[in-house]
Assembly symmetry: D2
Amino acid sequence: MKVGIVGATGYGGLELIRFLHNHPAVDRIELFTSSEEGVLFSSKFGHLVTIVDTPLKKIAYDALEKFDVVFTSTPSGVTSELLPPLVGKGPKLIDLSGDFRLKDLASYEAWYGKKAAPANSVQQSVYGLTEWNTERIRQATLIANPGCYPTAVLLSLLPLIKERLIDPSFLVIDAKSGISGAGNKPSQTTHFSEANENLSIYKVNTHQHIPEIEQALSMFAHVDTTITFNTHLIPMTRGILATSYASVMPGITEAQLIACLKTAYEKHPFLRIVTDANSLGTNRVKGSNYCDILVNVDARTNRATIVSVIDNLVKGAAGQAIQNMNVQFDLPQTTGLDVVPFFI
Amino acid sequence: MKVGIVGATGYGGLELIRFLHNHPAVDRIELFTSSEEGVLFSSKFGHLVTIVDTPLKKIAYDALEKFDVVFTSTPSGVTSELLPPLVGKGPKLIDLSGDFRLKDLASYEAWYGKKAAPANSVQQSVYGLTEWNTERIRQATLIANPGCYPTAVLLSLLPLIKERLIDPSFLVIDAKSGISGAGNKPSQTTHFSEANENLSIYKVNTHQHIPEIEQALSMFAHVDTTITFNTHLIPMTRGILATSYASVMPGITEAQLIACLKTAYEKHPFLRIVTDANSLGTNRVKGSNYCDILVNVDARTNRATIVSVIDNLVKGAAGQAIQNMNVQFDLPQTTGLDVVPFFI
Amino acid sequence: MKVGIVGATGYGGLELIRFLHNHPAVDRIELFTSSEEGVLFSSKFGHLVTIVDTPLKKIAYDALEKFDVVFTSTPSGVTSELLPPLVGKGPKLIDLSGDFRLKDLASYEAWYGKKAAPANSVQQSVYGLTEWNTERIRQATLIANPGCYPTAVLLSLLPLIKERLIDPSFLVIDAKSGISGAGNKPSQTTHFSEANENLSIYKVNTHQHIPEIEQALSMFAHVDTTITFNTHLIPMTRGILATSYASVMPGITEAQLIACLKTAYEKHPFLRIVTDANSLGTNRVKGSNYCDILVNVDARTNRATIVSVIDNLVKGAAGQAIQNMNVQFDLPQTTGLDVVPFFI
Amino acid sequence: MKVGIVGATGYGGLELIRFLHNHPAVDRIELFTSSEEGVLFSSKFGHLVTIVDTPLKKIAYDALEKFDVVFTSTPSGVTSELLPPLVGKGPKLIDLSGDFRLKDLASYEAWYGKKAAPANSVQQSVYGLTEWNTERIRQATLIANPGCYPTAVLLSLLPLIKERLIDPSFLVIDAKSGISGAGNKPSQTTHFSEANENLSIYKVNTHQHIPEIEQALSMFAHVDTTITFNTHLIPMTRGILATSYASVMPGITEAQLIACLKTAYEKHPFLRIVTDANSLGTNRVKGSNYCDILVNVDARTNRATIVSVIDNLVKGAAGQAIQNMNVQFDLPQTTGLDVVPFFI
């Protein structure tokens, strides 16, 4: 397979390279950029010296059409214009940006503050939450790879909500992310001396992943609800931990919640149900495509606490994108992704 | 004033020393320990060389009785035995442990798993949430200094709940703390290589600060409720950020919530109401006794997000203890505590 | 005293504010900027809300002339033009930039790549290494506050070189700094995700502090030598540790080196000679004006290892600047600087 | 191949597992322990759930003899007793501890403060600095895998010293390591709150890697010298950066030093010569077996600064051990180790 990556210099692009380098079905990777044509990739990224000593290429449709897969890992508002002409021209398209995730174009424009992609492209696109949309992904030409937060949240909540074990009417999701989620562009907020040893909340009640989560709850669990969702910046590089709170439906036990999750994911190699909180942490999934989930019911309140952890750059971005590519090409989902988490 | 510190080698004790060193009304500090009698304090703590070159002393009642104030900063289960004989013997007693916080002895024993202090001592003790209990603190002989999490949570929620602006019946509090909250004793969980670059949840729905928060909501806001409260370990040393979620009462606006907080704290120098989330972060209060609070109402859900930040070792421990001492001795509350936060 | 700070928004400026806020002889502080006139300072820096709620003022000579002291904490190349007209006009001038440190103008221009300040201003300026230049500082109108690295290096090496106990002819200085030394301007190098968990060397053999150290060795120890000096970026915010290596002069013992340092600094409250390496670390001086020094002689090689630690923003910048102000105004050197280091 | 790991619960052991899991020639891994027989490995290490769900086994010679390779990753003083009876009994033995590194038994006992291994075992053992001892490693039964610091130092210095391009008579090596180098056992020094935001020096002039480096300089470059070597603790988890200083031999240029290194390593896939300091950093080799080297000559002093970076747990431990295994079994050296460094 020949693979093109547009937006290779971002962290999503770098993670795609990290995994595709060891993917047995990929024999060629080319990197595209909007602004640094001809620059030797390894001159920008020292860790890739002797590994990716190829120049960045200019984005051009005739070049992109010749790949088997094109990954786009660009800021929002780029692929809404770039990808529509490529749909159906040959390559599988896997977009890591948010441009094709929201089916409601007005919602996209309200939450992203940008012009939406053309309606027909958005309708053609398939939401790439691998474990929940496998068959449609297999057939898809254009995949909207899920956001990092929605991946962590949905994988943990969907089974419980779909089976009506928890009450979706008062759902509070408190999410926390490492700073790599903010991308590679320097800013005051991500300046080491100000981000280090600091804990903050951002985009209070206005994060663009809210409508994405609500849409997926409707799509996969057939529940329309309005969630409370907030995001915090954690002084570490990688990792998302999402803590969700909801009332347990009458008569439902913690054991049933755990059983529901185990059943839902028994055939899914990257999903692990954890029963001991001491075994759960972002470093237990760091660098890998795993999503670990813990559920606990507080007998005092009959409310459930549901916790999930992922590596935001892997299962929350590049890893899930490659998992989707594997599905599209009828490869085992773990191909090229079967690595041991870092831990330390 | 002569001040004794029992448990000086813990982080709470070290912070007491840091502030009392510059407290204009304190002219003598002596340090007590259960196990390292005679050890030169600065030989254990290099940062105190030339500053605190005195030996640790053995805990003895006749010595402790001679102080104007005795701070105890010990693990739970120590002062329940140590302090009762000292009550009324002269010194003001300010206990930073949890041993005198819960009026319900059975609750203490259930949540702490230890024998409670004698009933009469517990009844005599005054809960030292300075801004909410000033008059009783002024008269108190034995102060139960609040826990770090309860301080952050209560200061932000009490005005809103007392004025019935938010609904206390479904209160979700998602708290996050730096690792110094776990104390100075090494463990696998706090081992640098495993705590660094990791984000985890601990004591899921079982943290001993739950009954303390519920008791204070009842005591100061006259509301009996059962809260959902969880705690997360953040890879940084200092700081607590608590994010609380509740429905806003019908007809109440965000502006009213903000006004309520501003009114409640207008005469309290350490409480700051923040209206821009970009100005809120644990590093904005680091090293200081400030508590910063932000409130936001999500118009989609009519739920409030209430965020507060403190330095867990200062406002959440040593700083509030000294603030209470100031109250007891009719000093301005800011005496010895008027420092600029670190930020970086 | 009335104090003006030019360049208040940088980290040096923020530290000046942190200490001057508690300085008993300072009753007014005004903040100046080149570009953000009228902006409320606390709107930029949330930690200063209720503490410094004053607007930034435009830099103007008539305003600056009325202060007792003007601190300038600006990038190199600014005060070389700004300060000369102010010399002798009233205020004591304390420049935290490098513009007046090098007496050799050609050397300044070679190492800084900028135009040097006028020769007469440079000659008038006094190098503000407090412990080594106290009398001249007392009389000075314009003080060139030392660089962060030179402060750490010179305080540890000067006594030993001046007394000819170590051989200055082959002096290797390996210095390490926290990232706040790079200032507050975001860049790829200081972007959290790329600076965190990374250790690197920078400005290899070309750091502009090299001629400053060599000049001071000549000035205070009367030794002309060419040093080897390198700097490393450490993934933490504050702190410098400098490790220096030199041969011990024949017949000289470790005990003599220690004694030399102790004698040199016995009357200097901020200098501490440490004899146990376990007591030495940047966190032992964090947030304070202390400089801790350790010396060890390796009997195998007869070479000395000399280690010093400072907080780069305090003793390496704002703290030493205030110490110099204290000297100029005949205040005890510790005035406003007598704080306990943070440790944790 | 069947592989046994003794000391699997340490960080070296965990890294062996991380890489061997993806090693194409390894089909079975068993884990041995001195004290936790029967414990499910993944119950101790959450990141290995579903990956290594096997129990720890008791160390027993009859079991160990049946493996093709036995890695031992234990504290010093363990394998000196454990391994000698296994030599020649079948498995290739690769010892990651220091017990077989020093040929001079008295030196081992002096620097390690422990009883040395039997003389004949030590003599039989082969020092496993892969790039410099490949042929002897290929034949070896017992490999003494190099220390983390010696690996970083020797790979960068050996070519230059062997070719007599730098002067070994005054060699200063200033090394810095992340905290994982201290192992997995909690201590005050590695307690997060005290290690975070701290920079310190340890084992001043007494690190046990000193004689190992000197022995290898003699063994591979035929130079007997006494080095100055110090080690610093950096607040990050992984990575070593070693900065070495030496005079350049008369008439030798920087270009010759660079050429020497490039020639020495042109056929060695894990060695990369870096010419831009901005491309060098521990995060450029993080998680990988690469060693990156930079050399710079200061024209002012005619001294060379030689910098090398490795991941202490990979090239400095488990990675090099597997590289040695590959050599022993005539596999390409990169087998199972061909991964892209993490960078972020």
